[in-house]
């Protein structure tokens, strides 16, 4: 009997494992087998080998006032890791919530405040007991944090709510919610604590074909009000920010996209350049300066940190695994010239970095947040995808030692794919990475002109990568039947302009993209319940007749082309959305998962809000029947769509 069932069991096991592998690796034959993901060369128990490894993925560090301890936000393991710098080892782990992002300490070093970006909370950690003592609700996807001078209020950048919460730390109540820029990101306070600056990761939504502008928001902590909004033209991905010790200049990392140009080539910063934004807080003057060189690019600048004496500024580049060392005195001089007549072209000058970048320090994979020790002796760099901290000796500007945060030695294809996704190594002159257009694995909310159809033709909105594993085909024209095709040879020909990913790298990259989940949706009630408005909206989404009782053809009902569970038929249709510059009229039906956070909308991004899809671009009822709907009806429909 056993002999008879064995072949059947083997067959079943084969098909189940094949299906499991295909789920992550796609539908193209690869060399993946069980061992690839599930055997740890460094040993461990059987369960350890079978279970996915638990990476830490350190994002941001903070350092104790006495310089003895580093507190590191571990994004993937959802924890705060306590690192003893004398012993060079992890001495404690505080379990937090989902995807912690930023950490700040109070001046005494008694408490840590950590934003949990996918839980919409801030955890307050008692550092003497390493216990979470409070959890404070925030807006959607809290990111950067800053304390006011009295340490009575905590400012929280709500990335997806486009707002900044002011939390009362005595009561935990939200005192105010300030309007932020587009996707408020990270924060820095002036030395006296009277001002807080907030970067915006993405640019303001604007009409197609117009210049992207990103905001740095200046807050007065006494009045708890926004006192100024600095707009930075032709920039986005405003990341970490620091105010120099003198208190006069704020400096932050940024990227300058060239999304209005047809992507003819990559040479000479044609697709994007990488640099710094600088604000003079005494005069309000501001400028942008590049960190790139004429034939060498430093993709994805993220972390910034300054030495206490104000001599050096450090900038981590997640895409090229390096830290740029900037001599601040020379940066000041370049900034002075940039703000004077004759400095108009400085934001595009690839030669200026030679004047103020004094060294590039190699790091591990995907360096992100950084901090300088209070005595100025060491720079600590999080190496996010190596689960390590690099210590750089500031006196010599040489790597001093490295601290490993986990003992995971195994690199799964998903992890390898994540490294490739965040690396510019497969782009001409390392100008950009996949992440450069898909920050947080999502969208940059920009539209691009891929030259393959002729310059000025077929302008396309960027599409999210979150939750797309089962939504093939890809590309707005629906021609790419798999992610292998999407990220393969064609991708290299029209975008990266180098050799394509080799098959094993492509498989890993696809495995990573297929592993991406959508963040929790704050518009959903527990247990799938709907508010009365959402319930009414669901009716409109599924209806088969207008308010006057006129039947709506099945082909023009929302639910026909957007059926659950993915809310797409994965087919292309003409819904009257084509623009005069488009070569086709039928476009791939997008999925609607977390559609609330994917603005702008339609294939070319011309609808800045869900409302505009119908109020501006559906005059003839070609994209569902909506002309009979009142404003309230439309609001209800949108309230329902936000829950999907």
């Amino acid at each position: 009997m056993a002999a008879a069932t064995a072949p059947i069991l083997i067959l079943v096991l084969y098909f189940v494992s094949h299906r499991h592998a295909s789920y992550y690796m796609g539908d193209v034959a690869t060399t993946v087998n069980c061992v690839t993901c599930h055997v740890d060369a460094e040993g461990g128990g059987l369960i350890d080998r079978i279970a996915p490894p638990r990476y830490a993925s350190p994002r941001k560090p903070a350092i104790a006032p006495d310089g003895s301890t580093l507190y590191v936000v571990a994004e993937e393991s959802g924890s705060l890791m306590v690192v003893d710098l004398a012993g060079k080892r992890v001495t404690g782990i505080v379990e937090l919530q989902d995807r912690p992002h930023d950490v700040v300490l109070d001046r005494a070093g008694g408490k840590a405040f950590v934003s949990n970006s996918w839980s919409d909370t801030v955890s307050v950690v008692d550092l003497s007991t390493l216990q979470v003592i409070r959890s404070l609700p925030t807006g959607n996807i809290p990111s950067g944090l800053a304390l006011d001078p009295a340490e009575e209020r905590l400012y929280v950048a709500n990335w997806q709510s486009h707002s900044i919460s002011v939390l009362d730390l005595a009561t935990g109540a939200e005192l105010r919610r300030l309007a932020g820029g587009s996707n408020p990101n990270l924060m820095a306070a002036t030395p006296d604590g009277r001002r807080i600056l907030v970067t915006s990761e993405l640019s303001n939504l604007a009409a197609v074909g117009t210049v992207p502008v990103s905001e740095v928001t200046l807050i007065d902590t006494e009045s708890q009000q926004v006192v100024r909004r600095f707009g930075f033209d032709n920039s986005h991905l405003l990341e970490d920010i620091v105010v120099l010790p003198e208190g006069d200049l704020a400096v932050f990392a940024l990227v300058r996209p060239k999304n209005l140009l047809p992507i003819l080539h990559v040479l000479r910063g044609w697709v994007m350049t990488n640099g710094l934004g600088i604000i003079d807080l005494t005069t309000g003057e501001h400028a942008q300066l590049l960190l790139d060189e004429p034939d060498r690019y430093f993709a994805d600048p993220y972390g910034v940190a300054a030495t206490p004496d104000g001599r050096y500024l450090f900038v981590s580049h997640g895409g090229v695994d390096q830290v740029s060392v900037v001599e601040v005195a020379d940066l000041r001089e370049a900034f002075r010239r940039a703000t004077q007549p004759g400095g108009e072209d400085f934001p595009n000058r690839l030669d200026l970095s030679a004047e103020y970048v004094v060294k590039r320090i190699p790091t591990g994979s995907n360096p992100q947040g950084m901090v300088v020790s209070p005595d100025g002796a060491f720079l600590y760099v999080t190496e996010r995808l190596d689960d390590s901290i690099l210590a750089v000796h500031v006196g010599t500007l040489e790597p001093a030692f490295r601290i490993h945060l986990t003992d995971v030695a195994r690199e799964t294809p998903v992890r390898r794919g994540e490294k490739l996704f965040n690396s510019a190594s497969r782009t001409f002159q390392e100008q950009f990475s996949c992440r450069s257009c898909h920050p947080r694995n999502h969208v940059d909310r920009l539209q691009y002109d891929f030259e393959s159809d002729g310059p000025g033709r077929n302008i396309l909105d960027n599409r999210t990568l979150l939750g797309i594993r089962n939504t093939a085909p890809f590309k707005w024209n629906g021609r790419n039947t798999s992610l292998f095709m999407q990220c393969g040879i064609r991708f290299a020909r029209i975008l990266t302009r180098v050799e394509p990913f080799p098959p094993n790298e492509l498989a890993a990259l696809v495995a990573f993209i297929r592993s991406l989940e959508v963040p929790p949706n704050p518009h959903r009630l527990p247990e799938g319940r709907l508010t009365p408005s959402q319930e009414r909206g669901k009716h409109f989404f599924e209806r088969s007749a207008t308010r006057d009782g006129e039947p709506i053809p099945a082909s023009n009902r929302c639910i026909t082309c957007h059926p659950p569970p993915l809310f797409t038929t994965r087919k292309s249709f003409d819904v009257g959305s084509a623009s005069p510059t488009d070569g086709i009229t039928e476009f791939d039906t997008p999925h609607l998962l977390n559609i609330y956070n994917s603005a702008p909308y339609l294939h070319d991004g011309k609808a800045r809000t869900l409302e505009e899809i119908w109020t501006v671009y559906n005059a003839d009822d070609t994209h569902g029947v909506t002309r009979d709907m009142s404003q309230k009806d439309l609001n209800d429909l949108i309230e329902y769509l936000k829950t999907l």
């Binding site: 074909g209 060239k258 003819l264 080539h265 000479r268 044609w270 590049l290 310059p455 302009r497 394509p500």
Partner: protein
């Protein structure tokens, strides 16, 4: 090369200049009006064709592939402002983009929608005005 844009079935390629006024050449940089770009055969110096320069300084040309070319800029009075001394060329189906005309080689392009790509490229050296594909 699998990722090459070159398509030898097409006898032409394209040239896109973002802003002719971006230049190190004083006569171009300081010109009040750049009206026209002329395309010459790089060997014989015969005129292959001409195109208007847009108000923002951009021009977009379809030119014969694998053929040495020289460009000249002309002002509104028909005066030659400057001309190339070194030949340029495009491969079949390639589009070459320039930030300016004899501009600094360390200048990345400004992010601005060039007016010239709002219409079809001007065909130089014969052929139709269609984009070709």
């Amino acid at each position: 090369v699998a990722t090459s844009v070159v398509d030898t079935s097409k006898p032409y390629g394209y040239l896109l200049c973002l802003d002719a006024k971006t230049s190190d050449v004083p006569s171009v940089r300081d010109a009040v009006d750049i009206a026209e770009v002329r395309v010459l055969d790089g060997r014989s110096a015969t005129l292959l064709g001409r195109a208007s320069v847009e108000e923002d300084g951009s021009f977009f040309l379809r030119v014969p592939a694998d053929r040495p070319l020289l460009l000249e800029l002309i002002d509104g009075d028909g005066v030659r402002l400057a001309g190339q001394r070194n030949e340029i060329w495009v491969r079949p189906n390639e589009t070459r983009g320039c930030v300016g005309c004899h501009e600094s080689r360390v200048l990345a392009p400004e992010n601005r929608l060039p007016m010239a790509i709002r219409r079809q490229p001007v065909a130089i050296g014969g052929g139709s005005d269609e984009a070709g594909d």
